[in-house]
Symmetry: C2
Subunit: 344 residues, 2 copies
């Protein structure tokens, strides 16, 4: 079940992304230049691989959060902030290179993965080297806070992935377990992007913490959205083999909520059918509709989106506020689009 | 050729190791206690795996170098030095966990590898988490030097492994390439152990650099020795499937020296026979003897052992000197033992 190759592409249709990125044209150019310049700091043996892996340009959501959390109108983006954005993007890139081994993914961001092109050995080592270089850059700051926070985050992301790998297809895997996995594997880097961005921006400790909560909520929404896409969206739109989580037995929010809602007997039958691979994605979606799981799940999402806004509500006079809210609203509109699709 | 499972065990017969370790009883106890105490700092999801991986107790050669490079008679071992030794040992452990994926190794230090017991996914993630925790500890120092040096070293070790993976079975792989691989993948951590140990010990910059050179030479000797064991020692003594490098096509010093010495025609035939897997280990050893490759290789090793001693010769009044020389002499006697075996 886990051995077939998968096509993974997280560049889902993100309507409205460009508008939210527009004020970031200059910082993102600085980031791209900074990342390209890093290639030369790697050992010659690594440079071609690093160059290739940098071609996997993601949506740059984490750098966006770094820049917006530290946003001040009319002020130049500092070199330190660009470096922080690069550290977090390299860390994210490293997790993707290793994820693609775990998922046996052959495509990401529309180009072949390192795993696919060079095999698992090179993917293990290149991911390690990308982690290491992120921490080299972190160690160039005077304060140890960036090094400490990033290293801890990497450990937490691994803990989340390990919990998911060990438990997410087991009958004992609970909603609580799922939230813990989401918090560790995804929300952590969103949180750190906002927290350290605001810290480098020189803001008050109160704002730094508030924007950290905002980032964590946003990361949770992002992962829940991503898991829902897997169930709701068609392959044509997403470039990802549909229902891969479901067919691989990995349980995400809809499955877990459905299991909660089923009667004792129906649950036993459902779990048995899933194990025997006797439920099609269409059957599964019908069950979700029938048991009102979709409305439940979208309710959870909209509460989390609201919570993100509340975290930073006290700071609505800061220039960063409207930008961060636009990021939140963008995610919210993606969720709304999925909700409409699920009802269609 | 690369797909068969291998039994890897680097706990080779190291006669005299105990005597050299004797003065380190207390520091090594502190190190073991420190490492055990680290388990609780990992996320709960990781703790069992970390506990298991810490059971792979290596020879502690790198911590030995840390402690001896900073050695002062009659002085307590500082907490910082113990922490540094732990950082380097965790880094080494992480590289082993990832190496075992690359080598598909099933046994190390006489217990099943993480790769063998838990599969490649968990091995990738646990290795990452061990790297990350090493860097968390590094970030607890006031100065950034430890963080920066360790992160750079991890990147360099990866560069060495990548070069080896890509090139070491190709006809273009030269002696120069081999030395570069040895320098990156093995000598780097020996170098760092000595350099940072001496630095934390508060010694002069001159001594710090000298002992760094000593460590690098020792690391090179160690790797060359290890590669020679693969050719010379019998399985019974080493617990390692013999000749794995040779049969997997990975070229190390003896093969490369032999190729250099063969006539144009003999070389072409040898390379063809190796590719066709038509040379037994016994044939290969006969060729090495016939072409005087062993004497050549042991000459290279003894020069490097001498060089290590010369690096620190100026510091023969320091309490560290005699201890470091004993480590060197221990390696030297292992090499001598191999030399006797090769002549037998």
């Amino acid at each position: 079940m886990h051995t077939r190759s998968q096509q993974v592409d997280q560049d889902r249709r993100f309507v409205g992304l460009e508008a939210v990125f527009k004020p970031l044209a200059q910082p993102l150019k600085l980031l791209n230049d900074f990342l390209s310049a890093q290639i030369n700091f790697f050992e010659p043996e690594l440079q071609d691989l690093v160059r290739y892996s940098l071609e996997h340009k993601g949506k740059r959501i984490r750098p966006m959060l770094v820049f917006y959390s530290a946003w001040k109108d009319e002020q130049e983006i500092s070199e330190d902030l660009v470096k922080l954005a690069a550290i977090i993007e390299l860390t994210h890139l490293a997790t993707l290179v290793h994820d693609d081994i775990l998922d046996e993914a052959i495509i990401r961001h529309n180009i072949p993965t390192i795993f696919n092109g060079y095999g698992p050995k090179i993917a293990v080592l290149l991911g390690d080297a990308l982690f290491a270089h992120a921490l080299v850059l972190a160690a160039e700051f005077e304060s140890q806070e960036i090094s400490l926070t990033i290293a801890q985050s990497i450990r937490r992301v691994c803990a989340g992935e390990i919990k998911q790998t060990f438990h997410s297809s087991k009958d004992t895997y609970s909603l609580e377990d799922y939230y813990r996995v989401v918090d560790l594997k995804t929300a952590e880097l969103f949180y750190v992007s906002c927290l350290l961005g605001a810290r480098l921006g020189g803001f008050s400790e109160d704002y730094v913490n508030a924007v950290g909560f905002f980032g964590r909520d946003l990361g949770i929404v992002y992962q829940l959205y991503d898991d829902l896409v897997d169930v709701i969206e068609s392959e044509k739109h997403t470039g990802k083999t549909l229902g891969t989580d479901f067919s691989s037995g990995k349980r995400t929010l809809p499955t877990l909520r459905l299991i909660d809602k089923l009667s004792f007997q129906d649950r036993a039958k459902f779990l048995k059918d899933v194990k025997a691979d006797e439920i099609s994605l269409e059957d599964f979606k019908s069950m979700l509709t029938h048991h009102d799981v979709f409305s439940d799940v979208f309710d959870i999402l909209s509460k989390r989106i609201e919570s993100a806004g509340l975290s930073i509500a006290n700071y609505n006079k800061l220039p960063s506020f409207s930008h961060l809210m636009k990021v939140r609203d963008l995610l919210s509109s993606q969720v709304k689009r999925l909700q409409d699709l699920s009802a269609a």
